[in-house]
Amino acid sequence: MNVEPTGIVLVDVCTIQTEKCVARQPAPITVVWTLPGRVQVNVCRPCLEQQVRLGEWEIRGAKIERRADVAVYSPDNRLQLVVEVKKRPRTQTDLKEWASRVRRNLIAHSGIPSTAYFLLAVFPDTLFLWKNSDPFDIEKAPDYEAGVPDGLKAYFNELPSSPDSASGYHLEMVTTSWLRDLAKSARSNDPSLQWVYDSGLYDAIKNGSVVMQAAIAA
């Protein structure tokens, strides 16, 4: 959905209230119109950008903060993989279509850099991997769709609650831990990792470094 910022500043409670919200109590917020229909939504900046990251809103002409929930670098310090961690949307029927929209929105609003691989981890159960190439195809469907590998599932025990209800921060932590293990591991016959080997992702990040909540300069 397209939204149009009005530039209005007022003090109110944010209507959206994502995990990143800074206006659960009255605080400075702005106002956007949803299009078409022009419904007023009062929203703080973190929630505005989070709605873009979730694939819910598009803002013509805007860029959002560029960051990665998890970033993985090769041993020669080149950014190879950007990971966006999400929870499965409650209302979405076509998960693959939604995943493609999330990636499209992130690229269109410069929320992630162009890297060889982009992984969308949709908890509790599905991973989508894109292998990017030139020319960059913003609308591309994921190259791989896979269930959560056993190595990642093993970390679910460390979550304070089930993956469905865990916070984004905790899900990023377990994803980071799994990727660290993966980057250090030897190639295995684990069938739940076949897509990691087939895609070339394993070779790209082998012996690399994994960083959680990485700010990435434009």
């Binding site: 530039g7 500043v9 900046r45 505005l48 950008e49």
Partner: protein, 148 residues
């Protein structure tokens, strides 16, 4: 940041309060200081200081009677421009402080600011037009330098 044509009258307490709210909305999760000690003075300037990494609020945060994009830019757009200076500084961009090259830096900063997510389409247009005006001014100044 300001060229001619913006407000020069000292800001009232209420106006300063509004600017602080606008600044908070622009900054989002990342708290940044904005210094208001000069804002209630006539002709004070809104600016980013590389020395202390802070933005100073001035009377010219408000639009004025000029007809150029810079003069009519809203408070939110003006503050987005200063925020862009701060962000570019953190990214390691070294500003030129002398004419005409500082005009290119100001143009880049306005373009950077124009992408801010909370700005209205009018604010984006004004910032982009401001960048264009500064680049035009750079061409004029550069030509003058060559001729003299």
């Amino acid at each position: 940041m300001i060229l001619a044509g913006r407000n020069q009258t000292a800001l009232t307490e209420r106006e300063i309060e509004y600017c602080l709210r606008a600044w908070e909305v622009l900054c989002g999760e990342k708290h940044r200081a904005i210094i208001t000690s000069e804002a209630s003075k006539h002709s004070s300037r809104t600016r980013f200081s590389e020395i202390d990494g802070s933005v100073y609020l001035g009377a010219d945060v408000k639009p004025g009677n000029g007809i150029e994009a810079n003069a009519r830019m809203s408070i939110l757009a003006c503050l987005a421009h200063e925020l862009a200076h701060a962000e570019r500084f953190e990214l390691g961009f070294q500003r030129s402080t002398t004419l005409p090259d500082n005009l290119v830096d100001e143009a880049e900063t306005s373009l950077h600011a124009s992408f801010h997510s909370v700005l209205s389409s009018k604010d984006r247009e004004d910032l982009i037009e401001d960048a264009r005006d500064r680049l035009n001014q750079w061409f004029l100044e550069s030509r003058t330098e060559v001729e003299t």
